[in-house]
């Protein structure tokens, strides 16, 4: 179809910032108009995925995430299990009139915060490896 505006991009005229291909645009976009996403060579995904540094990064993440997840799930479910099936134990007083049931429930908050802190500390290291990896492939995002 012939457009009265020729090859001109109509998007600015419509005044709406959209994320689909600009109207009336034919052919490839010039380099400066490409988004970060479009800049990436499709072959790149495969090359990064096969890279030993990338594999090491994923393995390092999993080495923390999998055991930490199992740990917090077990730690959490010990509360309803203890309260439900071992009430005698959970009613033992541990500090003044505070019983084990309350103390253990309260400890879950600190458990969650500590695990979150460990995760954040580890993730700072992952961020560094991620930057190094992307630099290696020349696809750094700022």
């Amino acid at each position: 179809m012939l457009s009265p505006h020729g090859d001109q991009d109509l998007t600015p005229a419509v005044g709406s910032q959209t994320d689909i291909a600009p109207l009336g645009c034919r052919g490839a976009k010039p380099g400066h108009e490409r988004t970060a996403d479009e800049d990436i060579d499709p072959v790149q995904w495969d090359r990064i995925a096969k890279d030993t540094d990338f594999k090491a990064l994923v393995r390092r993440k999993m080495r923390l995430i999998v055991p930490a997840t199992i740990f917090f799930i077990v730690y959490y479910f010990l509360l309803p299990i203890g309260v439900g099936w071992f009430p005698g134990l959970m009613e033992k007083k541990v500090w003044g009139d505070v019983n084990l049931a309350y103390a253990y429930a309260l400890s879950q908050f600190f458990m969650a915060w500590i695990l979150a802190a460990i995760y954040v500390a580890a993730a700072a290291g992952w961020d560094k490896s991620e930057h190094a990896l992307l630099r290696k492939f020349g696809v750094e995002h700022k």
Binding site: Q17, T35, V58, Y76, L79, V83, Q108
Partner: protein
């Protein structure tokens, strides 16, 4: 319970003014965001320029509903320790969000949870199923909040009817979402979270002041709480003892499962991670949220148990019932002004949560269903996606007003909240896990998983003790059975279909999720 307790007209006036101030402030923000924002990125994801602590507060604001604030305080005040077990699950659940969901979602998605689910699968069937489960979760949760809002407003401000309250809340939430989009909704959450934390901290300090800030003395006062049972007998119980209301431990396990796995599948929480510039900020915002949510739920100890020991369950029952424990405690400790403030905070809480739910429902409908299912991922006209979302928000708002009014104030809505968590845990989470980590996973598996999780949660709730006198299913929350069914459905659907997984797309998703390469950028000013 329709007890009209003596309420000084002045207090209800003050409360009304405080609430109107909140509404006015949020409307100014809405007006400001409407003027500023244009385009889909701005409307659905606040231009992805929210900072870590802001988003942390907003996530906390979206999560700490009136059910948490008034409901848990009331449960602890009436029956002690068991209510506190809810508080624990609500926080620990955020570890699932932090470890498994937040960063991959921000890295690989655009506006909704389905972006990640559909990434390497056939987008149309997966998005249609994901949109259905998102709409189910959001609308059920919203109806629960709307009914709660109507009941509360009627209790808090005599003279305002249930219907009027529901319509008022409904109109406000539609205005925020239709005109202000994600930016306005986010700021409504932030303000509400600050108000709620302020109110809770003040309430906790005033309670502890009564005990000379001696925690030992505070806990000792809980060991002998006297209340009257249904048959008129007076009993004295130790409120720190577990099992005063929850008799079946399996109920607790099932509920815990729904909370732990469901939070990471709640659409209105997940879309918040698209409003920040990158995955690192998404991570920081979960940590901020965990800090705020954790402090809040620890404080339920002070205002929940504090209400039990300072007011007593009988006094609370006679003055508005379970939900009024926190406001009544505020009146006892700080007089009418503080009572009015806590009531206004409760309104703000409800309003903010329904706005968050409305935007998650309308985003999913516009982005997943309208653009990607009906129109194969292309807008017919620029700006159409946003226009559809606005219309959907309007329809969703109107629909929930009507449903909330038809159901009326006396319907039991607690199960709707449980249902929302159960659907999120049984339908959304298994499919999200598999699509991120299981190479073989395919479209048939995703659709089966979503539909089995959704259907089993709904069916099991319909035959549960909440609905039937002689229940076919003994547990109040279906998660214990429906979550394994959701996983099973996703697994069976995958291995039974002959469809080949797209390995190149899986590789791409892996690299994207782990490095943030090609992730959606924050928009320039």
């Amino acid at each position: 319970m329709s007890t009209v307790f003596p309420l000084a007209a002045a207090a209800s006036q003050t409360s009304l003014w405080m609430f109107l101030t909140f509404v006015a402030a949020t409307l100014v923000i809405t007006w400001y965001s409407a003027r500023k924002s244009s385009g889909a990125n701005a409307y659905f994801a606040a231009g992805r320029r929210i900072t870590g602590w802001q988003n942390g507060l907003a996530v906390a604001g979206d999560y700490m509903s009136a059910a948490s604030f008034l409901g848990i305080a009331g449960m602890i005040a009436m029956n002690g320790y068991d209510g506190f077990m809810y508080s624990v699950g609500f926080l620990v659940a955020y570890l699932t969000v932090l470890f498994i969901v937040a960063e991959p979602l921000r890295n690989a998605g655009k506006y909704t949870m389905a972006d990640v689910l559909a990434y390497r699968l056939k987008p149309r069937p997966v998005r249609a199923a994901a949109s259905l489960s998102t709409l189910t979760v959001s609308i059920f949760y919203m109806i629960a909040q709307m009914v709660g809002a109507g009941v509360l407003v009627r209790q808090l401000i005599p003279g305002v009817s249930y219907e009027l309250a529901v319509i008022g809340v409904g109109i406000l939430m539609v205005v925020y979402v239709v005109f202000g989009g994600m930016l306005a909704t986010t700021w409504v959450q932030i303000i509400k979270a600050v108000l709620l934390m302020g109110g809770s901290i003040l309430l906790s300090i005033l309670v502890l002041q009564r005990y000379g800030f001696d925690l030992g003395k505070f806990f000792s006062s809980l060991t002998a709480i006297t209340s009257t049972t249904a048959d008129g007998q007076s009993v004295t119980r130790n409120f720190l003892t577990p099992g005063l209301i929850f008799k079946n431990p399996w109920d607790q396990i099932s509920l815990g499962m729904a909370l732990l796995l469901g939070t990471a599948g709640l659409p209105h929480i997940l879309i918040r991670f698209y409003t920040v510039p990158d995955a690192k900020t998404a991570r920081a915002s979960v940590v901020w949220a965990m800090l705020i949510i954790g402090l809040f739920y620890i404080m339920t100890t002070f205002f929940g148990f504090g209400a039990a020991s300072l007011l007593g369950p009988d006094h609370i029952a006679a003055n508005g019932g379970t939900n009024m424990a926190a406001p009544q405690l505020a009146r006892f400790l700080g007089g009418e002004i503080f009572f009015a403030f806590i009531c206004a905070v409760a309104f703000a809480t409800i309003l903010a949560v329904v706005a968050g739910l409305t935007i998650s429902a309308s985003t999913s409908f516009a982005h997943d269903f309208f653009v990607n299912v009906l129109h194969h991922g292309k807008e017919q006209k620029p700006g159409e996606e946003v226009r559809v979302a606005r219309i959907t928000a309007f329809v969703v708002g109107a629909l929930s007003i009507v449903i909330a009014i038809v159901l009326g104030p006396s319907v039991n809505v607690a199960f709707l909240v449980g249902l929302a968590f159960a659907v999120a845990a049984s339908a959304n989470l298994p499919v999200m896990l598999f699509s991120l980590y299981w190479k073989r996973f395919n479209t048939a598996g995703a659709v089966t998983g979503l539909l089995v999780g959704l259907a089993s949660s709904i069916v099991l709730i319909l035959v549960s003790p909440d609905f039937m006198k002689n229940p076919l299913f003994p547990l109040k929350n279906p998660a214990l059975v429906s979550v394994p069914l959701g996983f099973l459905g996703a697994w069976l659907g995958t291995i039974l279909s002959r469809e080949k997984p797209d390995e190149a797309k899986f590789t791409e998703l892996m690299v994207r999720a782990n490095t943030g390469l090609g992730a959606e950028k924050a928009s320039a000013h």
